[in-house]
């Protein structure tokens, strides 16, 4: 039962990773692509982490997974802002490709 839930959550997470990658390829400019990557991947990783927590045997492993998720969130938000700011100072609002 718990195994099934775990697999379901991880699969759902993978769907969001796939959607993020689809957005990365299909969206028209750097800003919209950043939306796809940050939001879909954060939710995808969150679901994968949740699925793995259900299989965790020790509390230490649960804490480790949560820290990994938090670190990816922080790094993702910071990197996303850096790329967006750089794109703005290069191209401004006119950027199309």
């Amino acid at each position: 039962m718990i195994q099934g839930m775990s697999v379901l959550l991880i699969l759902a997470g993978l769907v969001f990773f796939a959607a993020g990658s689809a957005g990365m390829l299909r969206f028209p400019d750097v800003y919209t692509r950043l939306h796809a990557l940050t939001k879909a991947d954060n939710l995808g990783l969150g679901l994968v982490v949740l699925g793995l927590i259900l299989q965790a045997e020790t509390a230490a492993f649960v804490i480790k997974l949560l820290i990994i998720w938090a670190l990816v969130l922080v790094a993702g938000a910071a990197a996303c802002h850096l790329v967006a700011q750089r794109a703005w100072s290069r191209f401004g609002a006119k950027e199309e490709r």
Partner: protein
């Protein structure tokens, strides 16, 4: 009014405290992530000393505190918003019509510079359809996926959540 020399002296104290705090926190992180192994590895020392050393050259920020009673409500809000943000962008990316109405929105925040504002900008990028692009003074430029969404309302909601969580202290020049 503190004289210039005591201000400089107290700033050094704040830097040393920050250095030690980062050292301890980075070591703890490493310890948890490696599950108690690898503390003797040269990479451990490289990473931990590098992280702590970086705080010596970064400017001091305003001290701040967190309101623990406000955290559960924020966590709930944050999780709900991340799910909505992920679902929204995934739906747009996978839909054959790819409904996008991108544009830029300007928003003037009343949050003080420092941790609260940094946090606000980071969380904006996780909300449905918004992405913080740049900050000039207190004017934020935000990229939105769909200009038809109620952007201003959701930014105001996030801002009031952030101001409930953070308690900002005085600027580092003032005292300490």
């Amino acid at each position: 009014m503190p004289s210039v020399s005591t201000a400089r002296f107290s700033r050094r104290g704040a830097r040393v405290r920050r250095f030690v705090a980062t050292l301890v926190l980075a070591a703890l992180l490493w310890w948890v992530l490696t599950e108690g192994q690898g503390l003797a590895s040269p990479f451990f020392w490289l990473a931990v000393l590098g992280a702590a050393g970086a705080t010596l050259v970064l400017p001091l920020s305003r001290p701040f505190g967190l309101r623990p009673t406000a955290l559960p409500r924020f966590a709930g809000y944050f999780l709900r918003a991340s799910v909505m943000g992920g679902v929204d962008v995934a739906r747009r990316a996978l839909s054959p019509a790819m409904p996008l109405e991108p544009g830029f929105v300007r928003y003037t925040t009343s949050l003080p510079h420092g941790a609260a504002l940094t946090f606000f900008m980071a969380v904006i990028s996780l909300l449905p359809g918004t992405l913080s692009v740049r900050l000039q003074g207190r004017l934020l430029t935000i990229h939105v996926l769909d200009t038809g969404l109620p952007i201003r309302e959701s930014l105001e909601a996030l801002e009031s959540h952030v101001s409930r969580v953070f308690v900002m202290g005085p600027r580092p020049e003032d005292d300490r």
